[in-house]
Subunit: 347 residues, 3 copies
Amino acid sequence: MQFTAQQIGILLNGNVDGNPDVTVNELAKIEEAQAGSLSFLANPKYEPFLYQTGASVVIISEEFIPSAPVTATLIRVKDPYSAFSVLLEKYNTLKLNKTGIEEPSFIHPSAKIGEDVYVGAFAYIGAGVVIGNNCKIYPQVYIGDNVEIGNDCSFFPGVKIYYDCKIGSDVVIHAGTVIGSDGFGFAPQADGSYNKISQIGNVIIEDDVEIGSNSSIDRATMGSTIIRKGVKLDNLIQLAHNVEIGKNTVIASQTGISGSTKIGEQSIIGGQVGIVGHVSIARGTQIQAQSGINRAIEEEGKKWAGSPATTYSNQMRAQVIFNRLPELERKLEELQKKLQENINKNS
Amino acid sequence: MQFTAQQIGILLNGNVDGNPDVTVNELAKIEEAQAGSLSFLANPKYEPFLYQTGASVVIISEEFIPSAPVTATLIRVKDPYSAFSVLLEKYNTLKLNKTGIEEPSFIHPSAKIGEDVYVGAFAYIGAGVVIGNNCKIYPQVYIGDNVEIGNDCSFFPGVKIYYDCKIGSDVVIHAGTVIGSDGFGFAPQADGSYNKISQIGNVIIEDDVEIGSNSSIDRATMGSTIIRKGVKLDNLIQLAHNVEIGKNTVIASQTGISGSTKIGEQSIIGGQVGIVGHVSIARGTQIQAQSGINRAIEEEGKKWAGSPATTYSNQMRAQVIFNRLPELERKLEELQKKLQENINKNS
Amino acid sequence: MQFTAQQIGILLNGNVDGNPDVTVNELAKIEEAQAGSLSFLANPKYEPFLYQTGASVVIISEEFIPSAPVTATLIRVKDPYSAFSVLLEKYNTLKLNKTGIEEPSFIHPSAKIGEDVYVGAFAYIGAGVVIGNNCKIYPQVYIGDNVEIGNDCSFFPGVKIYYDCKIGSDVVIHAGTVIGSDGFGFAPQADGSYNKISQIGNVIIEDDVEIGSNSSIDRATMGSTIIRKGVKLDNLIQLAHNVEIGKNTVIASQTGISGSTKIGEQSIIGGQVGIVGHVSIARGTQIQAQSGINRAIEEEGKKWAGSPATTYSNQMRAQVIFNRLPELERKLEELQKKLQENINKNS
């Protein structure tokens, strides 16, 4: 994949400033770029790298005026970062352009598979599965019976989707993630043992969702665990049975959400957060990493921190004093002593 | 799978009240059920849904007297929740009734496999493996050399069991869980590097254990990591080398237990808990989610919370005051001032 | 695998004291060992077991003088623990000595594979992959296009390595671990949705690295996520995009490190730790389990604890007083009262 500055200029609708015939074959950060690389400059703080970079081509703002000589060919665009993101995406699309069925793979005769789909070797597609167009089912993926999948999805190697789950279009799931494992439901018995409560629900994932690697999304006891449109989940996340994640909510890695809890739209949840079961978290809630939420949150758009969590500002104040506790105790003891002296003196 | 109210009444030993010929083909919650669904009413709080539900059949208590007209056929039993649980289980047994060997799978010629076993495509069964009757080995499962497995086990897609591990009967392991990976043992060397300590032990899992998805259970350095009868583990749990989990103990997701620690029987451990290595935790211990246990617990049946954990009641009291620390500090400062004024006045 | 005491004595360059013809076929702890086992005694605290052990052979210090009769054959060496470690390693090497290509496996015609390599059934080796000598690629491993791997690596079942990653020699990766999944990068849009930022970098793992099971190591946005020589990572660990882990650093399970953070050499990080993104952690840093690091650490070789973390000693002092907060508040209230009484009395 080799392109000239000219070709990239046309692609990005930008003006080429320098040698239009210089070629590039990779993308790189401006501070690391070498000959043959394409880079970009958006943040003014990185401008000094422009005069030292080995990059052959640099995407830059229309208005930029260099303060020293530049050897790279410049492509001038309105928004260099967006233009570069477009290139990143095109690059990845070219990289990950597999199609066709690799052998051996297992596709049940009753499964319906759309056009231009990639099915990697050792992938398993069960009975009654429906897969839309342009999906990429990487090697060693498992898709259980009667799973329905929209168009343009990518399931990376080793993704496991249990039976009856429903997945929209433009959904990306990374390697090792499990969709639809049993919820954790057991009824205690008189003899101290536990009886399994069968988990017969499913998981519904709407359009434009991305889920990282090695996450676990449990199926509902009955009904559905639901991940709404536009949700982004990181790696090693736990969603328990009957959880619902609202539209465009983002959750960082290693966070766990207990059974039947509902997270509002447009929320932002940090890493290693734990949220108790059977509560609702309001729209636009922000939760600091490592927090523990032990109750419902009703006010929208607030920021929370700590375990158990309080409002972010209260938590920050309390934490500052927590670190001064030895000093606080000393002051209290001095005060006791001083008061006693004063009492003795005046008695 | 379609059943009449009559058939279900016979199955549950209940009395049919209404049209015995109405048919159902799925199970649903009473508030979500539609025509063709079977539901139940156990919690009186849900009674209003009975008069609005679309369910064709509802399982209900023998003694229940409706306070408004009901369109659904009722099946009257002693304990509606238990009766419904039985149906859930039967439903799941029918759903997950695979048997036979799918191709391509890898079964070493020296492996011994019982009757009515399912081996999914791309499953790997190593040399000397012994598998009992009625086991379900889903696609892409790996069973290493000399692993022994009892009867009626289900290992969902992508479970990995390393060599020499021993697994009882009625054990369920969910997708992506790893049994028998190396314990984390390294000896520091004079030059700052670490030498691997080979981990030659195994993992023993007794009967009636269930383990969620993407958990990691390490093999012992020597001897065995042991999960006793009736233990239930959730998703993304870490058990280090030589850990032992006592009978009927339940552990929620993302909890980690460090090397050689022993957890007593009938304990209940919340999610995201961490427990230090080389300690014993007494029988019947309860640990709040996100707690950190940094020492042995000797008294049975106590409840703990916090990181580092204290007794639950102490932790609750301290946390309340933690949140009031700014106020506490202000009071202390006022007191200092007031005392000084008093001293000045009286001097 | 059966050996005589004589053979083991020669192997370890030790002196046999007792019957040289007794045979052993397994390794065991001295307190659990039975006939046919080989054990060792290094820690004097375990000496009583020597006189009761069922072990047929015990490795012991040259200078050891028994205080009671011993039935086991003794092999006397300079350092019993090291000698035993050598045996553990040899035992494991014999156990895990697979070679050859199992069928069915998928090896792209353009892949280059070294000598004496094991490729398990259902393993996938993509286009342009280069694998060195003596590597063990267990069943169901996925190695994406253009991945480069050195010599003497072991990738246990179900490891997934995405395209373009580079792995050194003597690297061990346990089951279910994912190398090179996309970093978690999304740009918020005006309508509340998020646009994916393509992650086109890779992961570089240097020599002598070991990674536990079910961990997630994300690829860089651009450039590389780097794990330096000699690093040891436990299970269920999260390394985000562009993280760099310094040489010989050790990280316990369930810890997460956010994007672009750099961890210094020879650091020791406990389990369930979280570290914020875009910071540097100094060489030789030690971090207590469950800590949260929310800023850069500049001083080398210090110990940290708490969330948010402070120096270990400060944290310990503050935690002690945290547990006494109810008492502290009571004292403060008494003081208030006493002062008021004193003021009233003197006015």
